[in-house]
Symmetry: C2
Subunit: 212 residues, 2 copies
């Protein structure tokens, strides 16, 4: 659906057309883009609550903390929206590398190098989704602590979607890592994945505890 | 952002404009619409895998089961896309009922009745999201059992998003139920919520077990 020329941008498509693109049996967009999308929507809800005029304690501290959180949340939302497209492009690059000629030994070597480079890039995209989602859960904790309690279900839904986006991205890191041959890269990425998941789940649990 | 005249349809908005709508400090769209949206994207991924030419065992049974699942998944996706808008409309109706005049006793009674009717409708919308997501997890189990194993991460991400949508919808049922005075309605809806959550989590766990 989305080509690797980047001419069709998923982030500007009407939502119902985007659903059709996910539903189509073309390989992209797939789970990686969907994870970034879910994260972007969750982060938007957190930013919404951070922007409400009313805060939990009505204090200047609340206002300043929420205003600062909102600025970063809007940046993370835009990063995640960009990653919806980037994940699809990265996947298309992997597919393109697999289609390179493999008649001669130099061709085989060039193809293998291109596949490995494309796989590392395709791992980096969902890792970036995980990083953005993990940072959003920390800010979500601030929003839970200081935001308008009337909007607490919006904060909780926001956290659900951000954590679902992060878990979905984790699956996409892991599936690509399985084919990467650079052991140091694999080890580093696998460690990042576990750290980001643990960090995000702890922050989300803390935030939910404040809202319960 | 979305008015209760229904003139602005969220489901046809460009995705980046939809993110702006969720980010804006207007009360709608909020967590209810976001939950329906996450469910719709998750269901789309499940439908995508059901539509892939290759199946797990390459059998006619696989093909027939997946084709049947895909038809229903596409219907559920469209239901959920419609519920993105319906949730926002239902919330706007609650807000409108609260703004009714309350000068005289008849006005107070009419306002109270309108608020209660709007709250019941606003409960029904996320309940419908939960129902659609729960049904999708059962079909997701079929897709996990019979779909192309190369797409297993798409199935898992689909399940993550569908379950996140269902949990988000549960929060929205509960927040509205808290203000509904009809005890029989509250009891029935609360029972539905627990049953749908348990059903969906069991089906999603079964599906994940097949993919692990």
């Amino acid at each position: 659906m989305a080509s690797n020329t980047g001419l069709i941008m998923l982030r500007t498509m009407p939502f119902d057309a985007l659903l059709n693109a996910f539903t189509s049996s073309d390989p992209t967009p797939g789970g990686g883009s969907a994870s970034a999308l879910a994260g972007a929507v969750g982060v938007s809800l957190l930013a919404m609550v951070a922007g409400l005029p009313k805060t939990r304690h009505g204090s200047d501290d609340d206002r300043q903390a929420l205003d600062a959180a909102r600025v970063v949340l809007v940046e993370l939302r835009d990063q995640l929206a960009g990653l919806v497209d980037r994940d699809t492009e990265a996947y298309d690059q992997v597919t393109a590398a697999f289609r390179l000629p493999k008649g001669s030994d130099p061709e085989k070597a060039a193809r293998s190098a291109a596949i490995q480079a494309a796989l590392r890039a395709a791992t980096g995209t969902p890792l970036a989704v995980m990083r953005a989602c993990a940072e959003a859960t920390h800010l979500g904790d601030t929003v839970a602590e200081r935001g308008n309690p009337s909007a607490s279900s919006d904060v909780q839904v926001g956290l659900e979607l951000v954590v679902a986006g992060l878990r979905g991205a984790k699956l996409n890191v892991e599936i690509n890592l399985g084919s990467v041959k650079d052991a140091a890269f694999v080890e580093g990425a696998a460690a990042d994945v576990e750290r980001l998941l643990a960090e995000a789940e702890a922050a989300a649990a803390r935030a939910r505890g404040r809202l319960a």
